[in-house]
Each structure stands twice: as structure tokens, then as C-alpha cells.
Amino acid sequence: MKLVKSLFGPKTRGRSISFALVIVAYIVISILQSAGSIPRMISSLLVPVCCYIVAAIGLNMNVGISGELNLGQAGFMSVGGFSAAITNAVLLNTVSNDFVRLLICIVIGALIAGFVGWLISIPVLKLEGDYLAIVTLAFGQIIMSLMNNLYVGFDADGIHFGFINNTMQLGEGGKMIVSGPMGVTGNKMISTFTVGFILILISLLVVYNIIYSKEGRAIQACRDNKIAAETIGIKVSSTKTLAFVVSSALGGAAGALYMMNYSSVAATKFDFNTSILILVYVVLGGLGNMTGTLISTSVLVLLPEMLRFLSSYRMLVYAIVLIVMMIVTNNEQIKTFFEKFKKQKGVQAHE
């Protein structure tokens, strides 16, 4: 018990609920899966759900905790995913254990995406509000454009890079890893639901442990009042950079896991729409609320599948659900109803 406590820290109910939720979900799904009672359509979505959850947890760090709108999370998934695909191909013969290789791929994807995030944060965090948001959008688009023109091959001589036009002459036994607009091809699929589950746990642990530390307080302080934060000695830019880098690294890890779940993925998979999709998960789950992110992401990724009986109307219904949910959750009457409830609880806790 003490170990659990030291792992998960003091108080904070939300955090325990998140972990419990993830662990229970994993156990239930694993049992159902071994009993063969999960339809194929759903089970093929298990790893993607994990990916989107990790990317959304990361984005929530940036949008919810740090308060900066980011419209380019898919760009970091792209960086992580492509780095992972290259790593996977290069290490295919050296590291024969799939599980170990997957972990290496995810770590490298996260590190490189985190590094790119750090580079991008330097110009991005000089701006504010909607201007900051559009620059993240711009970087997302730039990353997609660059990846769309990237050629990477691997042979006995090592890795070869090409850009825009593929003029690569690969030696015998060599193969293309990334082929421009076709994206990653011939990737060995090694992602598993269990690794996805572990990655979610690690992401939650990292994010929660940062939130409930001096850095987390500083990040939230900069969000709530930049000037006040400065005058009590908090460096705003490095604090915001931390949130941005953590967010992009988790995006990278998510992208790596996603990439390793398919044999081929094009760069356009990680486009503006994907960035927006992840943002929708975060906003619907509640800004800064990781448990909410877990639930909203799972529901919204699976929703189009669950709406399959509506056939071609399903995306239309999805759109309506989205609009109605936003309107309902922002309705004054409903809000005051919940606030009353919350306040009562708050007072009771103090008596």
C-alpha cells in the first residue's frame, strides 16, 4: 500500500480515478478479448484509441494546464511516427525482440518530437492568444509538407535521406522506409494493446506528477496571470516551454505507437483535421481534466464505429452530437445546476 501511495502521491482524487479507470478498462477489455466477444471493428481500434488518448493527454497539458491553444498536435505525432518507423526498420535485425524494439521506437519518437517541440516553442511562445494558435497550425502544416516530400532508405551503408525528388540508389538488400507522398511503407507492425495501456499509464504519471509539483504550479500560475507570476519570480517563457515540450513529446510517443500499428501510413494522416480531432477530445473532456480526456477520447474515437448502424449518416450525427454537446455543456441553467451541486459538496468538506 505504501508503495502505491508513494507512486501515486498524496490526496488528489482525480488522479486515482484516472488510474483506476485505465486499469479496469484494460482488464475488462483483455478478458473480453480473450473470450472473443469484441467485434473486430472495435478491437482494431484499441491501439488507435490508446494513441489518441496519449496525444490528447499531452495536448491537455498544453491547452488545459498551460492555457495555450495548440492547433498542431498532429505534427508532433507525425515527427514521432516517422522517427519510429525509421528506428523500427534500422533496428529490425539488431533488436529482434518486438516488444523491446517497440519501446525503443516510442522513446525515440518521443525524444525527437520533444526536441522539435522545443525548437518550435522558441518562436511560438513569443506570441500570444490566437496568434500563437495560428503559428502552431502553421508548424503543423509545415511538418506535414516536409514529411510529404521526405524519402528515407536503408541499406548496408546505413540510412539515406532524400528530399522532394527521390534519386536514391540503394545497395543490394536495401529498402525504402519513407517514400514521399506514399509515406511510410513496409513497416513491421509491432504495436500491441498492452503497450498502449502501459503508455497511457506512463503519460498519466508524468503529466500528473508534473501538475502536482512546483513546475506544475508555475505552469498554471503563468496561465492564470502572467504578470503576477513574473513578479513572484517565475520565468514565464521557460515554464511555458516545459509544458509545450511535454505535450509534443507525448504527441510523439502517441505517433510512434500509431505508426507501429500499421504497415503503411501517409504523412497526410497527420493533418490539420487530426490536430483538430485531438483538440476536440481535450475540450470535450474538460480543460485540464485528464480523467475527462480519457473518457471523451475513448467515446469519440469509438463513436463513429458505434454509429455504424446509421451507415452514411453517422458522420453527420457525429457532427450534431458535437455541436449539441458544446451547447448543452455551456448552457447557463445546466451550469448553475452543477455549480450548486459542487458548491454544496465544497462547503460540506470544510465543515
Partner: protein, 257 residues
């Protein structure tokens, strides 16, 4: 005034221009250790601008600021705080979505010496230092009568409590000089009375100097040991409360001719 006392603030010939408009000019100001000092003047006299220069939110155009003997030239607000100046704001600037306790603990940011990996891996040092800072923060909250609100969201506190919390947060940074910008604004006479006691208590307990801007003359004359009057960015008068009260220039500036 015994000149042997340690100077906490030394301002010489301080001035700032905004696009050709001089907001503050030729300001000299000395504040000694343990002193409560008042900065008063009509609206728009440049009082808050002085605070913004002292905390380096604005860079002065001319003059020097020394805090505890250290030249503040070229420092930013973060470094200014580390040298030892902390402040409150005229329009309250709390971290309104964070808990009352966390607001104060955020003030201890630089004092808490553990790194990112210590917090991610939850090493023993994290628990030790966090516990210490929580204890210290609770003590501070107790002084301000806020300890029972520790877990509440700061934005939900009543107005007077928010003002007190802002002072507590500033003190958490362990300053040598505390700047209070209209601490009694919006308070009723009883609250103002309590505030005066509290300001004295803070000075004695933390052994710091306090510079305050205030319009409530009862408070200013009641607790300030010396006073500077600003008008149109210039020093109109400087001296003991009774000298200021009998100064005809000051009376004119306030009431008009």
C-alpha cells in the same frame, strides 16, 4: 531618522517617459529596513508606475534603483523578485483557478530546490520539500486568517480575503521590500482597521520594509512612518505624516484651487 540604519531601497533621479510623455520624473526615495512608507498622490500621479519600475515590469528611462544595495539596472521582473522585491496589484492578480494554498506555494517556487525529474519520479526529496513548503505556506495563511480556506479555489474567495491572499503570496517569495498597491481599496472601515494591524504585524514578524500606495488617509497617516507625495509624476512633498498633513501644496493638489 537615524542614517546608520540599513537602506533597503535607494532610488535616485528615477524617471520614465511613454512616447515623449513624462510619467514620472526626478524621483528620489530612501526606505530603511523595517520602515513602513507611504506613496500618495491624486489619481494619475504616477504611483503605480513607480511600482512597475521598482518591480521592473517597466524599464525606467532614467535614474537608478538599488534594492539592498544591488543595482536593479538591466534586471527583469523575475530577477527583481529574486533580489528581494515583491508586490500586490491594484486590480487583484491572483492565480484564480488554483487553490489558496497553491497560490502561496507558487510564491515559494525558487526556494523549492528540486528538479523536474525529482517530481516526475517522485523521489523522497520531492515529498520532503513539498511537505516543508506546505507547512510554511499554512503558517503564512494562518497569519492572514486564510488557513481554513486553504483548499478553496482562490477566485471564489471573498474580496477582502483575495487582497490578503495576494499579500501572503508576495511574502512567500521572502522579500526584503514589500510593495502594496492600494491594499485597502474596496474595504469597509472595520476591514481597513484590521488591515492596518496586519501590516504592522507583517513588518514586525518578517522584519521587512513596506512601501504602500493608498488613498485612505486614515490608514496612511495611521501606519506610515514617512510619506512621499507625487503629483503629475513629480515629488510634491516628502516627510513625516504630520508634515505632509500641514503642507499647503499637498492640500492644494488634492482639493484643487
Amino acid at each position: 531618522m537615524s542614517e546608520t540604519r540599513e537602506k533597503v531601497l535607494e532610488v535616485r533621479n528615477l524617471g520614465i517617459d511613454f512616447g515623449g510623455l513624462t510619467a514620472v520624473n526626478n524621483l528620489d526615495l530612501d526606505i530603511y529596513k523595517g520602515e513602513i512608507y507611504g506613496l500618495i498622490g491624486p489619481n494619475g500621479a504616477g504611483k503605480t508606475t513607480v511600482f512597475n519600475m521598482l518591480t521592473k515590469v517597466y524599464q525606467p528611462t532614467r535614474g537608478t534603483i538599488k534594492i539592498a544595495g544591488k543595482d536593479m539596472d538591466k534586471l527583469n521582473p523575475v530577477q527583481a523578485n529574486q533580489v528581494g522585491v515583491a508586490r500586490t496589484f491594484q486590480n487583484i492578480r491572483l492565480f484564480s483557478n488554483m487553490s489558496v494554498l497553491d497560490n502561496v506555494k507558487t510564491g515559494m517556487h525558487n526556494e523549492l530546490k528540486y528538479g523536474l525529474f525529482t517530481s516526475i519520479l517522485r523521489l523522497p526529496k520531492y515529498y520532503k520539500l513539498e511537505k516543508e513548503s506546505t507547512q510554511k505556506a499554512m503558517e503564512l495563511l494562518k497569519i492572514f486568517g486564510l488557513d481554513q480556506f486553504a483548499d478553496l479555489t482562490a477566485g471564489n474567495l471573498p474580496y477582502g480575503a483575495q487582497r490578503r491572499l495576494e499579500i501572503a503570496r508576495a511574502l512567500a517569495t521572502d522579500p526584503k521590500l514589500l510593495l502594496l498597491d492600494e491594499p485597502a481599496a474596496g474595504m469597509n472601515p472595520q476591514e481597513t482597521e484590521d488591515l492596518m494591524d496586519m501590516i504592522r504585524k507583517i513588518r514586525n514578524h518578517f522584519d521587512i520594509s513596506i512601501l504602500l500606495i493608498e488613498h485612505d488617509m486614515k490608514l496612511v497617516m495611521g501606519i506610515c512612518e514617512r510619506i512621499t507625495v507625487l503629483n503629475f509624476g513629480q515629488v510634491l512633498a516628502q516627510g513625516l505624516p504630520q508634515e505632509i498633513q500641514s503642507n499647503t501644496e499637498v492640500v492644494k493638489a488634492y482639493i484643487g484651487e
